[in-house]
Symmetry: C2
């Protein structure tokens, strides 16, 4: 062998991405390796470096697909709700459900500390996700300054993420029996109540 051209670059890329996703789902990030991916698609490890920079780059491309799936899910729960607060609560629950349904794909996004800065096409996807939440906060606080809204969105989403992370990795099990969903609602309800009350009474 040594010149097969059985597949185009794009085909190899797609095969590698699907194989990586499968391994990730089945064996988690710790079970992922370039050699396994290569074997799964019938090539040698070296070939992967023709279509991806390295394992990190490959993983980043899988993660962006996960973010796209997450976007679809959140978008679904962002509509179909009578009032804004319900939407925000549902979106948090949808996020938690997504993480529970795809624990290894979700972990792969946050588990590893990356060598390099995130590329723009990746950051754009995250901004896209945040926009969904930002729209809701815009509705909730129509008169607030844009940076106030941005601040609220981030605080909200960090909080939800923290609940999700500590809940799903079982870091709270030893201490608490409260479900992740309950925790999420407690955090959100109080946060939003604080946010909207202060808005009405003090208007700062």
């Amino acid at each position: 062998m040594a010149r097969r051209s059985d597949h185009s670059r794009e085909q190899i890329k797609e095969m590698a991405l699907q194989a990586t996703e499968k391994i990730l789902i089945e064996q988690g990030l710790a079970g992922l390796s370039t050699r396994k991916v290569a074997a799964a698609i019938g090539y040698t490890a070296g070939s992967l470096y023709l279509v991806f920079e390295n394992l990190e780059d490959l993983l980043l491309h899988v993660n962006v697909r996960t973010l796209e799936k997450l976007f679809q899910t959140l978008q679904g729960s962002a509509n179909d709700c009578p009032e804004v607060q319900t939407c925000l609560r549902n979106m948090a629950l949808a996020y938690i459900t997504f993480a529970k349904d795809h624990p290894n794909l979700w972990s792969a996004i946050f588990e590893r500390q990356w060598q390099n800065e995130m590329p723009d096409w990746y950051n754009d996807k995250i901004a896209h996700l945040f926009q969904l939440v930002e729209d809701k906060f815009q509705q909730l606080l129509p008169e607030a300054r844009t940076d106030k809204v941005a601040q609220a969105v981030r605080a909200y989403w960090c909080g939800v993420h923290g609940v999700c992370m500590l809940g799903l990795t079982g870091k709270l099990d030893a201490i608490s029996d409260h479900s992740t969903e309950e925790l999420s609602n407690t955090l959100i309800d109080n946060f939003l109540f604080g946010l909207t009350s202060k808005k009405e009474s003090r208007d700062d």
Copy 2:
């Protein structure tokens, strides 16, 4: 060689822990290996398995030391504050500061997905930490049911952790320029305002 008895089991354990901590601080979790630790203390990798179960066990023992340092820091900021809300805000800021000051030690606690369940001596340390926050919430909501307080503590701490995590790993940089500390205060102030207002008005 092959029988040196230069050091007792306890001494080797201590040397290994210190070497691991040093490597972790300087090179991060990705740069840690049993072979490096062994070389640093003048033994072979095999010897580590006489005093620790495996790398995960070794890391867990380093992490529990980090948790102890964190406990000291939080305890410091838990006293020396006029009112409860200020304490809670200070403790969150102390947590964030600790994470910023010891990024690799802090990450090592959360970065990896563990093979085994956490041992009791580890979970006890975490419970110990939570107790610091729980005491403050007990003061804040003196008439609340114990499980309500527990719920509030966890929601609060998850939120703070989420801010810290997404803030420190730079997962928000692309989107927001708000400092981690500001985010933390936004989350906490609104959460606590919601929590205490509802307590007074509705008393559920």
